[in-house]
């Protein structure tokens, strides 16, 4: 009930309709069916073999691809991709024991995995050739890999494909008609429309029929795999490997969606929500133990802070539909408030040292006050005014903390120098600054803060889910959907919006208190509208929009992506913000619902059966009303 996107692209196909074989149309490349299958399997085999050969002469290319008999670096990714492709292909061809990999029996997943394997392999080969200066640097293994993955791709292109059915609302026909004014564009557009793969709208067996232990095991395995994949990605030592990783992960996830696996999995998590949530927390807690390295723990803390703030913003933007463009200022208010009462010698109240709980409350309260001060005058007005006033507030905050240095203004924040030497927190006598030993594993400073921040993230997630699935949350969403109708249903729009705004602000303030301690010092620089590194208001908004507005996992995922990708792709530095801006435009144009749009996956299974439990539960009341209505 918490995952509520703003838009839903397609009407859900009810479970139980006939398999729309009619929509399965010609393959992209015309091949006899047998040939296509054989080519696919030969391609898989060839690619697997190639990864055990040496791809290049020198170890100058990172990852040492020179060894025969053992895959290394990018070869591992190719190997994983090829094995997955092979297994899924066999499942799609109906081999017993593997069909569960492709619940909807669609060959689309095979094509996508093959494309992922192909892209990763060719990226590796091209990168070798380019970095070492020419194709001559490739060993036979490299050529084998390239050819085999090409055979694999062509083979899968020869498989029949499930197309996206045309939008029943006719919107696509309308768009086609509108494009007719400019001829060539229309042809391309039509081709693209018809080439669209069906993504998981095909019917799949309801996983609830599987034994309970299978369902629990699935959740555990997926959580473990998630941690493994994530830590592998974070630990990638060089850019080439990370890019290859990114390509493979994107295509694999896409293939899992196309196969209907994600759909089944979201049904399982919806049915076992507490257990799934627990496993999610366990996986998150496991992270600093598995990835026992201060650098990655630091990254983890920052992602959590960023994600938590994004989640708070999601209450304001995603649930209530209020555009807050100065949200990072509330994080700043919390951070400065915590810094002032931290006992730092640079604080104007350097003698004051609050315990953590009091500091956290102070940060929240300060943000709350500012939230109400900003919200109260503007939330009575049309929504657009809020955008500009919050943007203005963000600017005021930045200017003010820069100027409150005792020279250009009263001395509070030390201006650009900020408040530094913030002491480490101590929670229940456990000093987060010191390393602590757990068995054979030592948790360093950042790992400690990571765990503290995780607690706060869990609190914020709880606040988000509980609030959104309640009377107040429904009124937020109602306001977002149609404010006039909402007030006509008795909702005091101003009051409800102010609560959302203030809640969002105080959650950001809470995260700010931790961030002040994590970074040792609080300076004005990060708290601006846009900048090269998160958090800033534009990145926060992007995390929410990119991940999926109104969802829990969306903003956290969006935050992680926005943190990790720039961190890993260092060479983008100069173009990073440009790419970021263009990405925002493209997302709004082509996937306005974000990465995680699916509030209603669960419902798709229920479209026909939904009335059963309801009828049982309501037998008596219904009869009474029926009588009254007669």
């Amino acid at each position: 009930m918490t995952d509520i996107p703003l838009t839903e692209p397609l009407q859900p196909t009810p479970l139980g309709t006939t398999h729309p074989d009619a929509a399965r149309s010609d393959s992209f490349v015309t091949l006899p069916p047998g040939v296509a299958r054989i080519a696919t399997l030969v391609g898989v085999a060839g690619t697997i073999v190639s990864t055990f050969m040496s791809w290049t002469y020198t170890s100058a290319f990172p990852g040492d691809l020179t060894v025969n008999g053992y895959p290394g670096g990018l070869q591992v990714l190719t190997l994983i991709g090829a094995i997955l492709t092979g297994l899924v292909a066999l499942g799609a061809f109906g081999v017993k024991g593997l069909t569960w990999l492709v619940p909807n029996r669609s060959p689309n997943a095979v094509l996508l995995l093959a494309a992922g394997t192909f892209a990763t392999t060719w990226y590796a080969v091209i990168a070798i050739a380019q970095e070492l200066g020419g194709l001559a640097n490739l060993n036979p293994g490299g050529f084998v890999a390239a050819v085999a993955s090409l055979v694999l791709l062509v083979g899968t292109l020869g498989l029949p494909i499930d197309r996206q059915p045309l939008d029943p609302s006719g919107a696509e026909y309308y768009e086609l008609g509108r494009l007719s004014e400019n001829g060539p564009a229309r042809g391309t557009y039509r081709w693209l429309r018809q080439a669209r793969l069906n993504h998981g709208e095909l019917p799949v067996p309801d996983p609830a029929r599987a034994p309970a232990w299978v369902q629990y095991l699935t959740i555990v395995v997926v959580a473990a795999a998630g941690v493994k994949v994530l830590t592998y990605g974070l630990a990638t030592g060089y850019t080439e490997l990370f890019i290859g990783y990114l390509i493979l992960v994107v295509f694999t996830l896409w293939a899992f969606i196309a196969a209907g696996l994600t759909r089944q999995f979201s049904k399982i998590t919806a049915d076992h929500r507490p257990f799934a949530a627990l496993m999610g927390v366990v996986a998150a807690v496991a992270y600093p133990f598995v990835q026992n390295n201060e650098h990655w723990a630091n990254l983890g803390v920052n992602i959590l802070i960023f994600g938590t703030v994004a989640l708070g913003l999601n209450i304001v933007v995603g649930l209530t539909g209020l555009l807050d463009l100065g949200y990072v200022a509330f994080l700043g208010v919390g951070a400065y408030a915590a810094a002032l009462v931290s006992g730092s010698q640079y604080s104007i109240w350097s003698g004051v040292e609050f315990p953590f709980w009091a500091a956290a409350l102070t940060g929240m309260a300060a943000s709350l006050v500012f939230g109400v001060l900003i919200g109260a005058p503007t939330l009575r007005l049309r929504g657009d005014y809020l955008a500009i006033v919050t943007l203005g507030f963000g600017e005021i905050f930045r200017i003010a903390v820069n100027n409150l240095d005792g020279v250009s203004g009263p001395k509070v924040t030390n201006g650009p120098n900020g408040i530094s030497q913030i002491p480490d927190l101590s929670v229940f006598g456990y000093n987060l600054g010191d390393p602590h030993q757990f068995g054979s594993i030592t948790l360093g400073r950042f790992a400690n803060y990571y765990l503290l921040m995780l607690v706060i993230t869990v609190i914020v997630v709880l606040v988000f889910t509980r609030a959104s699935d309640s009377r107040i949350g429904r009124s937020w969403i109602a306001i977002r959907e149609d404010e006039t109708a909402a007030t006509a249903m008795g909702i005091n729009g101003f009051r409800v919006k102010l609560i959302a705004f203030a809640l969002g602000a105080s959650l950001a303030g809470l995260a700010g208190t931790v961030s002040a301690h994590v970074t040792y010092s609080v300076v004005p620089n990060p708290y601006q509208f846009s900048g090269a590194a998160p958090p800033n208001s534009a990145f926060l908004l992007a995390a929410v929009v990119l991940g999926g507005m109104g969802t829990v996992s969306g903003p956290v995922l969006g935050a992680a992506l926005l943190y990790i990708v720039p961190e890993k792709l260092g060479f983008l530095q100069r173009y990073e913000l440009f790419a970021f801006g263009v990405t925002l435009i493209l997302i709004m144009r082509f996937r306005p619902e974000g990465i995680i749009p699916n509030r209603r996956r669960k419902l798709e299974f229920h479209q026909d059966e939904a009335l059963l439990p309801a009828q049982q539960a309501l037998g008596d009341g219904t009869a009474a009303l029926g009588k009254a209505g007669a």
Binding site: L6, T7, V317, G321, L323, L325, P377, T378, R380, L381, R382, G383, D384, Y385, A387, I388, V389, L391, G392, F393, E395, I396, I399, A400, N402, N403, S408, G409, P410, T484, F529, S530, A538, L541, A542, V545, M549, R574, Y575, L577, F578, F580, G581, V582, T583, L584, I585, M588, R589, P592
Partner: protein, 309 residues
């Protein structure tokens, strides 16, 4: 220099620039109810377009002779970007949820800003802009810079031209009709797409003029000057009553004068001696906005829009 007439004059110059940019916001908002956040960047690209023209002209050319060419160059760049943004970024989103075009606008704003930063030669640092001359004219006790004369003259010409256009031309009337009710306007045979493009184009044109004026006034332009200026201009548009072109200019002037006076006089108020000066000017501008929104939410010249059922 700190006399009241001088401050009023300073505010007037500053406000004219805000007003010119604000017109772009207000026209687009009036017709499609979209806050074109990228408008500040359109203003910035206009200034860079004009600078490019100046750099292409032979050295030592008289600035007064070059000025028309620079204006044309800047206007072409700004109008093309504004119209392109409408066509390729905003138009496909009509009918989308309200947040979608706003976020697109933010993305566009960042992309434009960064495009200049990355690809315009030397734009990592502030770029010098040609000057009209440094000797001010004196009118009584008021010192007036030459570039300020250009600014005010440009603002007056633009406003008079726009008023005449909107009042008398067919397109202008169609524009008013579209702003009132796009659906009905369309039913009446008005090509609303064309009207929207024209609104963006006029906004771009005025932004380019403002961009040139900014360069002349401050002598330097930067890739990120659009953000602050756009924010101020939008504030001016809201202050004057968004959707109203005269309101935009009035709001700009009020904002400019308020800023100038706040810079000069706030420090004289007992207890606030540390809150004056240039550093706090923006803060006071936004405080003014919030106060106006509290007292008169529809803006100075705006009409109260009935809640729509």
């Amino acid at each position: 220099m700190h006399t009241l007439p001088q401050q009023l004059a300073n505010g007037l110059f500053l406000g004219s620039m805000y007003g010119l940019i604000a017109i772009g916001y207000t026209m687009v908002y009036g017709i499609v109810q979209l806050i074109n956040f990228a408008h500040g960047e359109i203003f910035m690209t206009g200034a860079f377009g004009a600078l490019t023209v100046w750099n292409c002209l032979p050295d030592g050319m008289n600035i007064w002779a070059a000025l028309p060419l620079m204006l044309i160059g800047g206007a072409i760049v700004s109008v093309l970007i504004a119209v392109g943004a409408e066509r390729f970024a905003y138009r496909p989103l009509r009918g989308a949820p309200r947040l979608a075009p706003l976020i697109t606008a933010i993305g566009l704003s960042l992309a434009l800003q960064q495009a200049i930063f990355v690809w315009y030669p030397g734009a990592d640092n502030a770029k010098d802009f040609p000057q009209l001359g440094t000797h001010p004219y004196h009118l009584g006790s008021i010192a007036i810079q030459r570039n300020d004369i250009f600014l005010v003259a440009a603002a007056v010409v633009c406003m008079v031209g726009l008023a005449a256009f909107v009042r008398t031309s067919r397109t202008g009337r169609a524009m008013q009709a579209t702003a009132q009710d796009p659906d009905t306007a369309q039913l009446m045979g008005i090509d609303t797409n064309r009207i929207i493009v024209i609104a963006f184009a006029i906004g771009g044109l005025f932004a380019a003029v403002a961009g040139v004026a900014f360069g002349l006034k401050y002598g330097q332009i930067t890739y990120n000057m659009g953000f602050q200026a756009g924010l101020k201009a939008f504030t001016a548009a809201v202050l004057g009553g968004i959707g109203n072109i005269y309101g935009a200019m009035l709001g700009g002037l009020v904002l400019g004068i308020a800023e100038a006076c706040a810079t000069a006089y706030i420090a004289n108020i007992p207890g606030m001696h540390q809150l004056g000066g240039q550093g706090w000017a923006n803060v006071w501008a936004f405080v003014l906005l919030i106060v106006v929104l509290l007292v008169r939410p529809q803006g100075l010249l705006g009409e109260r829009v009935a809640d729509r059922a």
